[in-house]
Point group: C2
């Protein structure tokens, strides 16, 4: 099956289970950006991020007997919640291995969605060892957060919707900005657009100091981030792009765009004021790029994916305090 | 033309211009409410509230020559912005008469949407005198905020979408909770549901101390509020229900539900955390009723309209400070 066929197959499995998020806009944002800005708010997706698409795609494609034994995932946040809900709705168990210093809200939510949460200490324990032991003991299926074809296909359904919804708005070309961590969403959308909106180009967006993908696209090989924590954009911080996702991104995407953490927070405040949506800093980097890095962007209109909204109230209040007009 | 035909006609005029907002939900909210909760987030509508529907409906139905002379409206907020954008997109002038103590953000936004804003002092000036003078001088058409059939029909399109979207979710009966000020949205939705989801019943929701509609439904005649200001729920504070809207509400709706301002703020915080949407206190009263007044509600599922999101950052921060978990 071709990549595009896999995305179509995922879309059929997701139909009726995953929310079709709308395309939002505001003349106030257009004015800041100097061009039309269309926002795809995946923060409105079930569990507050696009991750539910990939989770559902993977779970729904498993052999029922395999699925019934349960799945396992490593995640500090959005992937955890996406898998937890997808497992709950498939009446199976999800074991989620989370660092003990993950945001409390994300741990609580994952538990509340019925998952078994196993916490580990990042400093002293090896999560892979814990994962291998649990998988072996209980015959669980590992669902990787991005380097997994079924997950990429699930995230790619976002791209199918973007192509359709943007066309209704009269937009068929230009840049599509996507917050990029491990590259599942970025690569998936790029594959969908390659098939359905070939004049659009995906541009990965990352926060300063965690711009491994932008650097990888320059050097042509997978570069790594020095740090893996210490950013408000936690949702999209990964050690490096995936072995499956990077070749797709390299083939399909334009150069990366890098924004500051403060620009991401300003975008959070503007999304509050102008779109009435709640976006987390990592999910707001693409909107930040659209608004504040227009010189690096092509086209009369730009599309920005707001990939998630799982932000702590304290951080949200800080963003409003600093940047609300 | 019947009421329902008017709503269908409005829906045709609105098509492609007004956003079809999705239907949102969260298992966390279901748990609080003790039943399924579906939320219709009109805060995601253009200008941040359902008012754009009525504005577009009225403007688009005017004779082009009449429309070209411009329109006039009285409003302290959401109706102002809805009319301003509808006029801008119809290439005509909107004159909006606003009290000088209206929220600065709403005045600024109305101006930024191209309207001529005329401020008056609530204490010393009569807005009707100002309005009559301007209308006469410039031959402007008055667009009333709710007691106008075209406006009611426009707001009613929200009900068409609710009937369709709820049916997809398997919900065809139960209460539909609607924040109620002058009754345009409430009456419009009730007419649409009467035609398309006759087993659903609209329930008007109001804040404590401004419960004129609940009292009117009890007494059978239009009751008034003593005060017209001093509520965080400013968006839905009116002197009384309209002469056109009340008879419809009386015929179609169940008893009113009254929530406290603090319950509205809790609903604002929960909509932030669980739905990732920004709702203003007045727009959150129906969700508050769904979550905290379940004993007054009928049905296994309840639908709550979140009617607007034009909230000042300070008030939003306060809601999070008090009620974020």
């Amino acid at each position: 099956m071709s990549n595009l066929d896999m995305i179509h197959a995922a879309a059929r499995r997701l139909d009726g289970h995953v929310r079709r998020t709308p395309l939002l806009s505001s003349s106030f944002l257009d004015e800041i950006a100097g061009r039309r800005v269309l926002v795809k708010p995946e923060c409105l997706q079930h569990t507050g991020s696009f991750k539910f698409r990939g989770g559902w795609s993977a779970l729904s494609a498993l052999d029922p007997d395999v699925r019934a034994r349960g799945v396992i995932a490593f995640s500090s946040g959005n992937h955890a919640q996406g898998i937890a809900l997808a497992a709950q709705r498939h009446d199976t168990t999800a074991v989620i291995i989370m660092p003990s210093d993950a945001p409390k809200m994300k741990i609580d939510n994952t538990r509340a969605l019925g998952a078994e949460v196993v916490l580990y200490d990042r400093a002293t324990e090896d999560r892979d060892v814990i994962g291998d032991r649990l998988s072996a003991e209980r015959n669980l299926t590992l669902i990787k957060p991005y380097d997994e074809p079924l997950v990429i296909a699930g995230q790619g359904t976002t791209g199918l919707e973007i192509a359709e919804q943007a066309a209704v708005e009269g937009v068929t070309s230009g840049d599509v900005l996507v917050p990029c961590g491990g590259g599942g969403l970025t690569s998936g959308i790029s594959l969908a657009l390659e098939g359905h909106a070939p004049e659009m180009q995906v541009r990965p967006v990352e926060p300063e100091d965690f711009d491994d993908v932008a650097r990888s696209l320059k050097s042509g090989k997978i570069e790594r981030n020095d740090r893996q924590s210490g950013s408000l954009c936690d949702a999209i911080i990964t050690p490096a792009c995936g072995d499956l996702t990077f070749p797709i991104i390299k083939r399909n995407c334009g150069t990366g765009i890098v924004v500051t953490e403060e620009e991401a927070l300003r975008a959070v405040a503007l999304a509050f004021a102008r779109l009435k949506i709640v976006v987390e800093p990592g999910g707001a980097v693409a909107l930040a790029a659209a608004l504040f890095h227009g010189d690096q962007i092509n086209g009369d209109a730009v599309i920005a994916v707001a990939s998630g909204g799982n932000i702590d109230a304290d951080v949200f209040r800080m963003a409003l305090e600093r940047y609300a007009e």
